[in-house]
Amino acid sequence: MFLLLKYTLLYAVVLMLVALGGMFSERSGVINIALEGIMAIGGLAGIIVLVLFGGKMPAAALVLVSILASAIAGVLYSLLLGFSAITLKADQTIGGTALNMLATAAAVVIVKAYNNAAAGGNGSASSKLSYSNTEFIFNAGPLTYNIFLIIGVILLIVAYVFLYKTKYGLRLRSCGEHPQAADSVGINVYKWRYAGVMISGFLGGLGGFAYIVPSVSTWNFEVGVTGFGFLALAVMIFGQWKPFRIAGAAVFFAIFKSLANIADATFLSNLHLSKNIYDMMPFIASMIILAFTSKNSQAPKAEGIPYDKGAR
């Protein structure tokens, strides 16, 4: 049972962070299907910091720098989506999909190049990186926590306050609902859409790092982030683009995802089901849930539609 709780917390924080990121982007009017790719790039940036500076820096500084690196890498990568979707007014779904494919491939190339160089250029490079993650994890009582749990809770509250209690949130939301209305009262729609996309890059990159680091100490970048970005999109929709509902939805999906991890070690093994079935569970659950909830969806009205100042 503790094992289930441990994994649920781990995954819930990741899903929540990334889904909150998606929420900011979509609330500003840009569909962010590139979350998967942003996570991979963010995770890669953070882990490169760990590999390069692990042991050469005080633990606290290392944690801070690696987390910032992942978030900043996410922001920079999300700017590609912003540029294509906002400035060039390209189709957001296609742009996002392209970024997803690019991210995994780019991560593999970078990691292989690094490993190749580290091995003295003999060409037998793998796409795996190993690192130490002990700085991120601490124990309290029977449970193991990681630092992202605290960060996640803080960011959830910040996200809520920002969105509903500040004028910036009001403006950002208006751009996703009725950009012409926002424009007519002097709000720069392009600026706020970039802001939304960059916030989603920040949270997505951070989420990618939070997914990879606490659970394992070696990561194979060929798998990207194993579909977590897409799962986060489902969490966002199930959470109806609202921060606390997203947090709840994240816990719900995280339970399903955790079942796969504990299947071998607990009573579930008695059922003699293939582990693959548990692996499929969160995705099947998201399909079923979305099929039932999409009808009264409260998606931002203008999401996915490039804003063109000239068009009336």
């Binding site: 306050v161 209690k165 500040t166 004028k167 009001l170 403006r171 939301r173 208006s174 609902e177 009725h178 012409q180 209305a181 926002a182 424009d183 007519s184 009262v185 002097g186 709000i187 409260q298 009205k301």
Partner: protein, 510 residues
């Protein structure tokens, strides 16, 4: 120069777009505290002129003065800084925000990092009391009526302390009672010293409340007149450039056998859980124009969609020429002699990126006249389109090969009417066929409807315009919240009585 009689002057404004002069040396002078109407046909350049004043476009030449001093308006923020505000034809309101949030959006009052709405709420309440603008600041925009949404837009301008208020066709979406109320509000605002620019092509409203009127035609300024010294006829002559008759000329109806019979039809709504059309029964006969009157959104759209096959009905029967067509496809209905001039000409009337000739054969391209072995006979299509263009006077840049999107609204509508009437239908369903059109085009369309009737065809007209309902129809059915609440004879009823039925205040139980 400082104390000019005019608060805003637009002097010798010319605006050229590639290929056309939208405004050609137009001068408009607005006095402080007056209601100044801007009248013109569609495409006369009214919207362009107002967009220039609101900072959405820059003029090619000419200048704008405020209180006698030249100003530059490069974007809506500049307009706002000069206290110019605008109620757009399509409201610029965020539906899932409260009224208050919409009003403060863009100039939000804050305390430290956070929003502080208390002061704003007090200011809004004070303004709405002062000008009689009843709204609930905490209601969501999606939950309030169109009239209240418009009042929210007016409050938005007042909250920003705007002095010059532009109303872009404000009455198009309102009920007669709401129009009266708006007129009162506008007069109130003018009395309080606000200067109002009122864009419209409804002459009655201009006569009712304006002080002066500037008329545009084809981008040129025809003149500015004092309303006291003019008549409706003169205004329309200046607008269109010829005499226009307001009365629809028609003989008494010669009603024959039933064409369409609807029995207990119910249509579910797509937007809410209730039924949009509730247990409706009526008949339409050859040789009459039956008009379904009602305020927008009372189920007329769904009713027509159900008749023409765009939506499914959940119970009831539709008989057409004696056959049950309740479950027939759209093409079957069309082939059996039903024509449809749709409410939304862009969505259901035309394929905007097709050419005019392609649009004209949309419902007939499979006929042997127009295709052979699956290949379109281009020559036959061209010939057919040319005949319709000639016969129905559809004007366009390049004739049959003009892209539909590039045509003016009136000519797009004429193209649809040509296509639908040329099918020689037994029943013509026309939904708001004159929406957004100017008096010249309206006159033409009304003549076509009456001609159909006189040929012994049935016409079912759905209209929101009271004048149209009263003038064109032989029989009026009033629809309110999905039900038919009354059947009226246009000869024996009044606009006021009709308005009461439309607002649900009166009903005759069938």
């Amino acid at each position: 120069m400082g104390n000019s009689e005019y608060i805003i002057e637009m002097l010798n404004i010319t605006k050229e777009f590639p290929g056309i002069k939208a405004n050609d040396n137009v001068t408009l002078q607005l006095k402080k505290g007056e209601i100044h109407a801007l009248l013109g046909e569609n495409g006369a350049g009214k919207s362009t002129l107002m967009s220039i004043l609101f900072g959405l476009y820059q003029p090619t030449s000419g200048m704008i003065k405020k209180n006698g001093k030249e100003v530059k308006i490069n974007n809506p923020n500049d307009a706002n800084a000069l206290n110019i505000g605008m109620v757009h034809q399509h409201f610029k309101l965020v539906e899932c925000f409260s009224v208050l949030d919409n009003i403060i959006l863009g100039i939000e009052p804050t305390k430290g990092l956070f929003l502080s709405k208390k002061g704003a709420r007090e200011k809004v309440t004070a303004l709405s009391d002062k000008y009689g603008l009843k709204v609930n600041p905490d209601a969501l925009v999606s939950d309030i009526t169109v009239g209240m949404q418009q009042r929210t837009e007016i409050l938005k301008m007042l909250y920003r302390d705007n002095e010059i208020l532009i109303f872009d066709e404000p009455t198009a979406v309102l009920t007669p009672q709401e129009i009266d109320e708006l007129m009162k509000i506008m007069k109130n605002l003018a009395n309080e010293g606000k200067s109002i620019l009122f864009i419209t092509h409804k002459l009655n409203e201009i006569m009712a409340i304006s002080d002066r009127c500037t008329i545009l035609r084809k981008g040129k300024c025809i003149g500015t007149v004092n309303i006291k010294d003019t008549t409706k006829e003169e205004l329309s002559r200046m607008m269109v450039g010829r005499n226009v008759s307001f009365k629809v000329d028609k003989k008494p109806a010669n009603v024959k056998e039933t064409v369409l019979k609807v029995e207990n039809m119910t249509v579910p709504s797509k937007v809410h859980k209730n039924n949009a059309v509730k247990n409706v029964s009526f008949e339409v006969h050859r040789g009459e124009i039956v008009c379904i009157a009602g305020i927008d959104g009372n189920g007329q759209t769904e009713l027509v969609h159900a008749l023409t096959g765009l939506e499914k009905i959940s119970s009831g029967t539709v008989w057409f020429d004696g056959a049950d067509i309740s479950k027939a496809s759209i093409r079957e209905r069309s082939k059996s002699g039903m024509s449809h001039i749709p409410e939304d000409r862009h969505k259901h009337g035309l394929v905007l990126d097709y050419t005019l000739e392609q649009n004209m054969v949309l419902q007939r391209y499979w006929e042997s006249d127009f295709q052979k072995a699956g290949f379109i006979k281009q020559g036959a299509v061209r010939e057919y389109a040319e005949r319709l263009i000639e016969q129905y006077d559809v004007r366009s840049g390049q004739g049959p090969v003009t892209i539909a999107r590039s045509m003016s609204g009136g000519n797009q509508q004429k193209a649809i009417i040509a296509r639908e009437i040329d099918k020689n239908p037994d029943l013509l369903v026309a939904v708001q066929p004159t929406r957004g059109l100017d008096v010249g085009a309206i006159e033409y369309i009304h003549k076509q409807l009456v001609a159909q009737r006189d040929k012994g065809k049935a016409v079912l007209l759905v209209s929101l315009e009271l004048d149209e309902v009263m003038d064109v129809s032989d029989r009026i059915l009033v629809m309110y919240e999905g039900e038919l609440v009354g059947e009226l004879d246009p000869e024996k009823t009044t606009v006021e009585e009709l308005g009461l039925y439309m607002a649900g205040a009166k009903r005759t139980t069938a």
